[in-house]
Each structure stands twice: as C-alpha cells, then as structure tokens.
Amino acid sequence: MTKVTMTVNGKSVSGAVEGRTLLSDFIREGLRLTGTHVGCDTSQCGACVVHVDGKAVKSCTMLAAEAEGAEIKTIEGMANPDGSLSVIQQAFQDHHGLQCGFCTPGMVMSAAALLAENPSPTESEIRKYLEGNICRCTGYHNIIKAIMAASGQSVADVAAE
C-alpha cells in the first residue's frame, strides 16, 4: 500500500492504495465519488472520463498512484459554485442529451474538455471527438445538439426533426 495525495474537485484528498489500484477505483471506492462510472474493462466506453490537470482522461486507464499530486475533476465538481447546473450540464438537460444517465458523466467531462480545446466545434468534430465515449441510449443525436448549444452555436441543423 502506498499513500497518494491529490486534489479532487478543489479539495485535497489522500488515501492508501495498492500499486495496481486504478484511478477509477480510487475515485469510486476510496473517495466514494460514485458519479464516475465504469462501463468496460478495455478502455473503450468512456463512462469513466475525468479531468486530470485539465485534460480528459479515462480514469480506468490510469493508476491511482500515477495521479499523485494531480488536479482531478470529476462530474461531482462540474456544477456552478452555487450548485446550479453548468452551461454544459444545462444544455444536456435542455436538449435531452441523456436517458439512463450511465454514460452521462463521461460525456459531460469529454464535452467540457472538447469545448476547452475547441470552443465552437463543428458537428463532425464533435462526433469524432466522442469516438471514445459510447452511449447506448440516445443515438448521440441529442448529445451532439447539447454540445453545439453549450458552445453557443445554433442547433437548427442538428434539429433535423
């Protein structure tokens, strides 16, 4: 067991982990932040995406020990300080970008990372960027719409219905 210390959603946390403990397990089991989900064991689904030092990372692909000293943000840290939904979260609700909600934390974290990099992505840029996030419920249509809207762009074209 080794001790790790990191900042999670603005708070310093530490815990004892085994060398093989995944960051996703540390977040879920160690910190009981269960908003981060685990949907696969081959780093394919993206349900576990968090931000590590501002970058979107699949937390199932990283060891907790590797996150020593890092700045981590999870879905629990995404709302505005007053507790209201952030622009991206609100756009997901407004455009029905989620159904069962299981992929949603990863989708929101990926969307936030995308918009930080590319503030007004095209539809096809969004679709490509989400390559590592699987959603089985929505068919992605409304997720694309939500991300377009969150970036302040018109959703008229996506709203092909």
């Binding site: 932040l33 064991d41 609700q93 069962c100 299981f102 989400l130 996030n133 699987i134 089985r136």
Partner: protein, 786 residues
C-alpha cells in the same frame, strides 16, 4: 403553440439533474456495511464435463470467506423459465434444468462453475484463479442446423434432442398450399438475423443482504422488473415468500431487454448473503457481461411471399430456426413465437400466413428478448422479401407496399392479432414529405461523380406493444400476468406520490407520468412524485419492457387517479353542500356547475385527512387508491422509415446519408422523450444493420466479447435523424390513447438500411439481391466482387 405543461409538453426531465451531477444511485454505487464480494469462476470452454473441482488451496487464500459450487445448490431450485410454448403436436417444449452453479456439465463459455466470496473483489478474483479445475471437453454445438442433426451431441443429456420446440402458427396447411399453388409469382429469400448483445452501458450488479432480526432478504439488482425477480427467485429458486424478500432496482443504466430476466448471480448473492449472514456483492465486468447477459435475435429464416397477377400479396410462409442458447432464459421461448409469429402480417392484408419456428439448444449464451424482441426479426424478413419482390416484378417498392396496406380497422390478421387502429398511408405520405425522393437522382449523380453508389431504401413496420391481456397470454404459455399497477397516494397538503410497478431505466417516467396526473387534476407537475423500483413500496407490477410503461403502467395510474378524483369530488360536494354530480374539477379547483362556489384541491385533500367536516358515513377518510390495469389488447404502433446510403465500391464501406422515421404512436405525452426513444432505437437498429454481431467460432468461443471486437455504434457512425410522430391514430382501448414508442426505432430501421444498400449496388450494375447483416465493408465488398 406547443403546450408548456401537461400532456403533450416537452417537459425537461427532472431525473437529469441527479444524473448530470453524479448523484444518481446505481446498484454498483450501493455498498453495505460488512459486505463481501463474489467472483465467479466461469467455464472457458463451450461444452464439457467437470471432472475435478478442487477448491482447497483457493479456500486458504487471503480474505476468502467461502467458496460455493454446484453441490451447494442441489437442494435449491433452478433458474426458471417464464413461458412455456406448446409445439405443433400439442406437446410442451423441452425444458432443461438451469442450475445456479453448474452441476456436472458446463454448456457455454461463461457458465458459472464456482463462486468465491471474499473480503475484497481482488481477493475473490485471486482465489478463483487458484481453484483447480479439470474439464473433459465435449464437442461444441454452435450451428443450429447441425444441432438438429440426428447424431448431434446433446447440450442436455436428459433431453431427447437439441430441439426445444417445433411450432407452427397462423393459417392451416391447406390455406397456405392453396395460396402458393395459385400464385402468379413467388419471391423467396434466405436470411440471417444475427445474434446481438444488448450492451446497456451499466454492467449487471447484484447485492444480496440478509436481516437477521427480521429474517428478511433484500436484493439490490440492475433489473427492469423487480417484482418479477422477486416472484421468480423467491418462489422457484430460493423458496423465500414475498413478505420475506425485497427486491430493489434503483437507478438502472439501461436495459434494452437484457435486464428483464432473472439471472443466476441474483439468486447466488441472495442465497449467499443469507448463508453467510452478511451482504454479498457482485459487479460484472464488461467481459463477463458479454458471456452472461442474455443475447438477442439469432434467427435463420427462409421466407416466401406469393403474389397474384396484380401484385396483391396472397400468401406468406416463413420458416425460422431460433437459437435458445444453452438454457432457457426467462422469456426466451416467447420471442420467436408469440412476439414474432403474430407480427408476420405487418402492415399488409395478406390473407394466408403461416409461420414455423424451430427453437434450438446450442452451447452458447442464452438468447432472449432484446429491444423489439421477435418484432425486428418479423419486420426484417417481411420488409426485405417485399423489397425483393418489388425488384423481381419491376415495381416501385413504395407503390407495392401502398397497394397492399391494410386500410380498414379493426383488422384481424391471419396470425391471431386484431389491429385496433392505424393509418399506414398517412405515415408513408409523411415519410415521403420528409425525404425529398424527387431529388434522389440528382444526389445519386453527385455521388457517382465521387465514385460512390447511392441507394434509397424504405420499409414499414408494425409493432405490438404492451403484450396482454393476461388471460390470453396465459393460454399462450406465459407463466405470469401482464397487467400493471399503480398506487396514487395524495398527501394532506395536496401533493401526490405515485407508486408504479413500471420501472424507469432511461425512459423518463419520473417526468412523463406526473405530466399526466397534472393534466387530469389541473395542478403543477412538481406536486407529483414517482416512486418505482422497490417491491417494498410499490404494488406488484410487471415492470418495463415491450414498450409497455405508458400504455399499461400509465393506464393503471390513470385508473387510480380517476378513483382519487371520484372520491375527492364526493368530499368537495360535501364541503360545497352540493350534489356530487354537479362538481367539476378544473385547474385544481372543484366548483359547482353553474355557480361561483368552489373549493381548492388542497382544501379537499386536507379534509380527507382531517375529517372534521366530512361525509364520514359515506366514505372513509384518506385519499389513496390503487388500480391494476389489464389491457384488452396489444397496442399497434406503426410507421414508415427511409434510409439513404452511399456505398464506396472500392472499400465496401456504407455511409448513412440520411435516415427518416415517420411513426404513429397514437397520443404523445412528452414529444421530447419520444424523439429520444426513437433516436436510441434507430441507433440500435442501424447498429445491427451495419456494425454489430456476436460471433462464435466452431469451438463455441465468443469471438466478439469486448468493445474491441463487438462494434458498438459510436457518434461518428450515425447520422442526425429526422423523426416525426405527427400522424396519430390514438389507441382505442386504453384511457390515454397511447401506443408505446420504445422499440419502434430498433424494429423499423434495419430493413431500410439493407434495402438501401441493395438498391445502391443494383443501381451500380451489381446483381446483388441480398447481403446478411451486419453490412460490414468486407461483406459489401465481397457482394460487389462476387
């Protein structure tokens, strides 16, 4: 103006807030004090006899609490099947035992042999690796036709053969023979509806708990229908009466059918928690999900369509082999029979239809309902054979369909169902409005310039939702009722709690159900709370699948609310000193017709619980009602779908250029949610058409057992969808006039994709009449290049 509240409003979903902030409560988020973890040792061969199982070394590994194997379950029931099909000779299907842990033999890769319970998940896993296991390999039984050969190795030694049942349905032999003898033309098509994996993003989880003080067992599980699990597991497996067994399905991360069924892991965790007197938790890995979640589809079919000289459909005959896998999953026998055969008329007035299905055991994961369940298989073969017939007869596929549409309702099909209402011409007209078919040639010319082949495909579908009534399904072999329930509890200060037997795992009940009540009473939807998913505080219900929640569960809620309103009117009449018949309820106010006397909803509800001035001789205090709703018929959503594709003849790659869906769901409560349901269904249907397939090799190894090998549709694989549900012929037999929308997209979309690809290849001069799904680049390329 679209409505902004009540029925018909696109009210934003209240459940989203918890899902968007990471505060949902999924089963894996539940951790109980003192819980142990179970890891299952699973077979890595398809078929074999267990020669030696030695757990002595493993039992001494750190953290191990206890190791269980098949012998521990000898006195316990097996996993039951919930539907018994009677074969064409009047005999019951062959029904094998399905032990919780393997006894003697393993029958598919993933079959559980032993269960290690330990202090941590890692310790359980490590110890499982130390179990000494010797299995004598037996020949795998993978191919269905081979499984039916006389000398085929048997999956279940105690059964006569690998044939579960041979079932015939619809018109009699004479009628069918007459139709085909008199035909001017017969179109025949052999096709495969490939095996799929449902793949909800949340893997299955079970947590068993036992309360020593009360003797009550509790199971937390990822289920679409907690009451069904309680009944099956309590009554048939573990022998625990309902009052000592509570099943909780909290937030569930998608199901698509695969979480309807009662699984061995649920029974194991409940059993072990009681045996060990501590909570026991199991969380499936995705790899485990691939080899234990019930799969879907897996039909091999020959279909023949007879036409007369005027191109009227005169007969339809279809023969299917349906894979059951190694054991009968909960509703498996019903899928290729009553959910498939009954749909073979589709939208057409074919007078003679006969369906034959042979259900087959193989050494593969059990197959059961997956989004659409039987109906996609029916739709696919019918809509593909019609397209082929149109081509053979040189007809426009839209015109041929239109000519044969059923246009008078109610309509009794030759396959035992009666459509109450529909308008197939209207949805086809709407579809053609959406797709600009006239512009197709110009678009095809553009594609040709880029070296691509463009194709257009269309199809119709009909669905039967809300399977019912109970008395009928009982005759057909269901070992369950198919009603739904709701308890509506009005609190003293006017708020309501609805306890429904339906279960939401993405469908938005918490938002849509209150819209209905708000409309009925004239109050704010925020005054209504929905409780679901816990057998301890909801009435016995059958859960959510088969697009039944609103049509059946919503109807139960309406009936219970009607009782509430009737009683509230009695109280209001007393308070207003008027006669009950003169009381109107509007906008949350009870008023006396023709006067200005009124009393508010909240005053009446308060009077019900503080009955000082109250007609106590006539009615009891309180305001709480329950209704069980057993529908008199299925509902029949229908629609027309179109797909336009571009095929790259160099690579065989298919790109979906556009996809349009015109659906008739009857009345719609929340259009935003309905659109979302259709989008999701389309993604799964297009996924089936182009990408997905569970593939076994000859040794019974599942080759596509991870997201590296099983192609899930990703954002970049799909187009934006055009969806419309403005054609509405309300259901005639339920109080909301609703039909259900959850499966339509998955049922309706595969044929138009395949029709479009065949169209593209034909236009490109390639004589290709059929390609089996998924239309991967390799398969399409091969079809082009012979």
């Amino acid at each position: 103006m679209p409505k902004d509240h009540g029925i018909g409003a696109s009210t934003k979903r209240r459940e989203d807030v918890r899902f968007l902030t990471g505060t949902g409560n999924y089963t894996d988020d539940i951790n109980l004090a003192g819980q142990a973890y179970v890891h299952f040792l699973r077979s890595d061969v398809a078929h074999g006899r267990i020669k030696r199982l030695d757990t002595s070394v493993a039992a001494d590994m750190p953290g191990v609490v206890q190791i269980f194997n098949g012998a521990d379950f000898e006195g316990v029931g097996g996993i039951p099947c919930g539907w018994q099909v009677t074969d064409r000779h009047g005999n019951p299907m062959q029904e094998p035992a399905h032990p919780v842990l393997a006894q003697g033999k393993v029958r598919h890769v993933g079959d559980a042999i032993a269960a290690v319970v330990a202090e941590s998940a890692a310790q359980a896993r490590n110890a499982a690796e130390a179990i000494e296991l010797e299995i004598e390999d037996l020949p795998a039984v993978v191919d269905m036709a081979a499984a039916l050969a006389d000398d085929a190795p048997k999956v279940h030694d105690d059964l006569d053969s690998n044939l579960c049942y041979d079932w015939t349905f619809g018109s009699d032999d004479d009628a069918i023979k007459a139709a085909f003898d008199a035909a001017d033309h017969v179109t025949t098509l052999d096709l495969v509806n490939q095996r799929l994996v449902a793949n909800p993003m949340e893997p299955r989880v079970a947590v068993g708990d036992f309360n020593r003080a009360s003797g009550e067992s509790t199971l937390y599980t990822t289920s679409q229908n907690p009451h069904v699990i309680r009944l099956l597991m309590g009554a048939f497996v573990l022998g625990i009466p309902e009052h000592k067994l509570r099943v909780i399905a909290p937030d569930v991360g998608g199901g698509f059918g695969s979480k309807i069924f009662h699984y061995a892991e649920e029974a194991f965790c409940t059993f072990a928690a009681k045996a060990l007197k501590r909570p026991v938790k199991w969380t499936a890995s995705r790899s485990e999900a691939f080899v234990t979640d019930a799969h879907g589809r897996d039909h091999v079919t020959t279909i023949e369509l007879a036409l007369d000289a005027d191109n009227n459909f005169t007969g339809l005959r279809t023969r299917t082999m349906a894979n059951m896998g190694a054991y009968l999953s909960t509703f498996a026998p019903s899928v290729p029979t009553y959910l498939h055969g009954t749909l073979m008329a589709g939208n057409y007035k074919t007078p003679a239809i006969q369906v034959n299905v042979k259900a087959v055991f193989t050494t593969t994961v059990p197959v059961d309902a997956y989004r659409g369940a039987g109906r996609p298989e029916a739709t696919y073969q019918l809509e593909r054979v019609i397209d082929k017939a149109a081509r053979e007869r040189g007809l426009d596929p839209v015109a041929l369909r239109r000519q044969n549409f059923i246009s008078e309702f109610p309509y009794e099909t030759p396959v035992a169902v009666a459509y109450d209402t529909g308008d197939y011409t209207a949805t086809m007209d709407k579809l053609l409005e959406m797709v600009d078919r006239d512009g197709f040639e110009a678009r095809a010319a553009e594609s040709a310039k880029a070296g691509k082949l463009r194709g257009f495909g269309v199809n119709c579908y009909i669905e039967a939702c809300g399977i019912a009534p109970s008395a009928l399904v009982g005759q057909l072999g269901a070992r369950a009722g198919l009603y739904e329930s709701a308890t509506v509890r009005v609190n003293a200060t006017g708020g309501l709690v609805v306890m429904t037997g339906s279960h939401s795992h993405g469908q938005g009940h918490e938002t849509a159900f209150p819209q209905v009540i708000a409309e009925m009473i004239g109050i704010d939807a925020d005054m209504v709370e929905i409780v679901h998913g816990d057998t301890a505080n909801t009435p016995m219900g059958m859960g959510t699948y088969g697009s039944r929640s609103l049509a059946v569960g919503g109807s139960a809620m309406v009936r219970a609310t009607e009782k509430i309103i009737a009683k509230a009117k009695k109280i209001a009449a007393h308070l207003l000193e008027a006669s009950e018949g003169d009381i109107d309820l509007k906008d949350g106010q009870f008023s006396v017709a023709g006067t200005d006397k009124s009393v508010a909803w909240g005053d009446v509800t308060l009077a019900a619980y503080v009955p000082h001035n109250y007609p106590i001789e006539e009615i009891e205090p309180g305001l709480e009602e329950t209704a069980f709703y057993d529908p008199s018929n299925f509902t029949y959503p229908a629609g027309a779908y179109a797909c336009e594709v571009e095929v790259d003849p160099e690579t065989g790659r298919v790109e979906i250029c556009s996809f349009a869906a015109a659906d008739d769901f009857g009345n719609v409560v929340n259009p935003m949610i309905v659109d979302g349901q259709v989008h999701g269904g389309l993604a799964q249907g297009i996924g089936q058409a182009l990408l997905e397939g569970a593939v076994y090799d000859a040794d019974g190894q599942l080759l596509s057992a991870s997201y590296m090998d099983y192609a899930m549709p990703r954002a970049d694989d799909l187009p934006n969808f055009q969806v419309d549900h403005s054609c509405q012929t309300p259901c005639t037999h339920n109080p909301l006039g609703v039909k259900g929308c959850g499966e339509a997209g998955a049922i309706g979309s595969p044929p138009s994709v395949v029709n479009a690809v065949v169209d593209a290849l034909q236009r490109g001069g390639h004589d290709v009449t059929h390609i089996d799904m998924p239309l991967s680049p390799g398969r399409v390329w091969q079809a082009i290049n012979g």
